[in-house]
Amino acid sequence: MVAAELVPQEAIGRASLLWLIPALPLLGAAIDLFVGRRLGRWAGWLATALVAASFLISIGVVTQLLDLPDEERLVVQHLFDWISVGDFRVGMDLRLDAVSATMILVVTGVGSLIHLYSIGYMRDDPRFGRYFAYLNLFVFFMLMLVLGANYLVLYLGWEGVGACSYLLIGFWFEEVANTEAAKKAFITTRIGDSLLLIGLATIVFKFGTLDYGEVFTGAPAVLTESAATVIALLLLAGAIGKSAQLPLHVWLPDAMAGPTPVSALIHAATMVTAGVYLVIRSVPIFELSPVALDVVAWVGILTVLFGGICALAQWDIKRVLAYSTISQLGFMFLAVGLGAYAPALFFLVAHAFYKALLFLGAGSVIHGMEGEQDLRRMGGLGRRMPWTAFTMGIGALALAGFPFLAGFFAKDIVLEIANTNERWGFYVFGSIGALLSALYVSRLWFLTFVGRPRSEAAEHAHESESLMVVPLAVLGVGAALGGVLSLGPHGWISRFVEPLVGLVPEGEEGIPGPAFLVIAVGITFAGLLVAWWVYASGRVDWHRLRERLEPLPRAALHGWYVDRAYDAVIVQPAKALAGITANVVDAKGIDGLVNAIGGGTRRLARSGRLLQTGFVRSYALVVFAGAVAVLLYVGSRL
């Protein structure tokens, strides 16, 4: 099913500029980091301009790629040798193919819009320059992640985005909670990262190289099914951590502590999709292990349901979107697990548009409400923030799967692939997930923009400046029209990446086509209508409704107490163990041993020093006795 690895082409023509795509953001990061304070507002414009330039170069490079025939669409640019130890060599290589081309367009495109938005959003922040330095650095690492031609460059970017994520979540580090959230994100993803690193080591062990080309061409011959399963599951563990899938999802809701544009860029549009990218990239390995693919699919579908239910119960506008992101990423994993790599990639692109849009819109709302994030204190903002309401409405409809918007196509393809007789379970659960997304996103929108203002701040909310509205509008267009990239399972994006990842698998249809469409659209409208009836029609007291459903909403609000469970099962025992090692093993055992040696020496010295009487003649006597003894020995040998 997977096409053979393509023959890499020389980076000539516009493609020779490939290295500039990550280099420009790196330059921006360096400048903003060192002289950002002096640049003032220009630090933001510089960072934005450099990422936008990267975007333009990406377009140039990708159009050249499109001009090539299908089987030549793979460009590798060797920058320099990174590691060269014996036979093991790792180059700093960049690789442009259909998958990475799609990714760099998303990263630089959405990234530059979010940079532009941030200039307005972060206007009054005292660490304005540093913020953009981090943001640019993040874009650099993300581009290295997707452009790397071997797993080590990918890993470099992987850890780099993790570090930037840490820096940006804890950007307002004056609040202890923010630094706690940053730490949590870093450590939680680190669990996955460590397993990923073991996976890379396993690849080196099996293949002797980390280069994509050599690994992918060699995989069918080198790997047995069990070896492929081991490697695939280790890679998957890394992906689960980065993409906040069950059971490592706990960091993402807390990561909303960072500035909202950061949530949009990192925790919705780009970094969290790195896990999906890794799995799509490693398709030749995953294809060898049906078990691993099944695991991917199950992780995905469980996360879809989990995230959807949690999102439905949140009061914090950003946490709704955070759980929504978890849920949507679950859809992507589901698609990958079902073997639909191209649709997964399309889902990734579409989601980047509408989730970035929703987050930026949420940021605009928060900005207009002077920092208020609680949905219960909003309401009726539609009249005061028309642009935000309109663009967010498009984003919400796209996410809900409203016909002919980007999200509709994305979700549709995934469900269509699940719609086979042997996979009906995925289809049913996926449809429930779709219903949930329609519900929670329209709940969000209705609670925010419709009805009467429920607080002082909501009455005096104001529309954001044009610097922030323009990116919203552009993303709105993307979210609305993104669907043209993929009309049906064999849309444009599928054809683009199919030479690399293979065709979308087809099985016997479960529900016939027209009926399937009607059901899909019906689910979306059902979700919208229910949300409208409950939250916007004014006929239902949703506070009382929620109380009647207790304790379910409370559990969902707290993410089904997963955090508390981790705390009880892992954190507290670990702390107790650490306490034992620190207070007993180290203090009593190891320190005791050291102290015993020291004390013993001291006691020995205390008695030994009595030999030192200070009488120089006593010393001389001993020396003479020694001389006599030596002479005795010498004389006895004569």
Partner: protein, 101 residues
Amino acid sequence: MRTPIAYFVMLSGILFALGTVGVLTRRNALLIFMSIELQLNAVNLALVAFSRMHNQLTGQVLAFFSMVVAAAEVVVGLAIIVAIFRRRRTIDVDDARELRW
């Protein structure tokens, strides 16, 4: 020369032993110092005796050098004794016992 070499060596050894006894039993730093001179001379005697025995002048050269060094040593040693006496008003070596526990 009819006197056996061994006689000179034994004389040297006896004088050395007597010098050592002086170093070990006297408390006056000056007398200890004189005893050391006696030891040095005893060794010089042995060196010259061996020089005669091996028909070589090297032993005499070594004795000569040891005299030079002894002269230098006496100068420095006596200066130290004078300095100690100035500070402590005594040259009893048993009184100078700060270097102990």
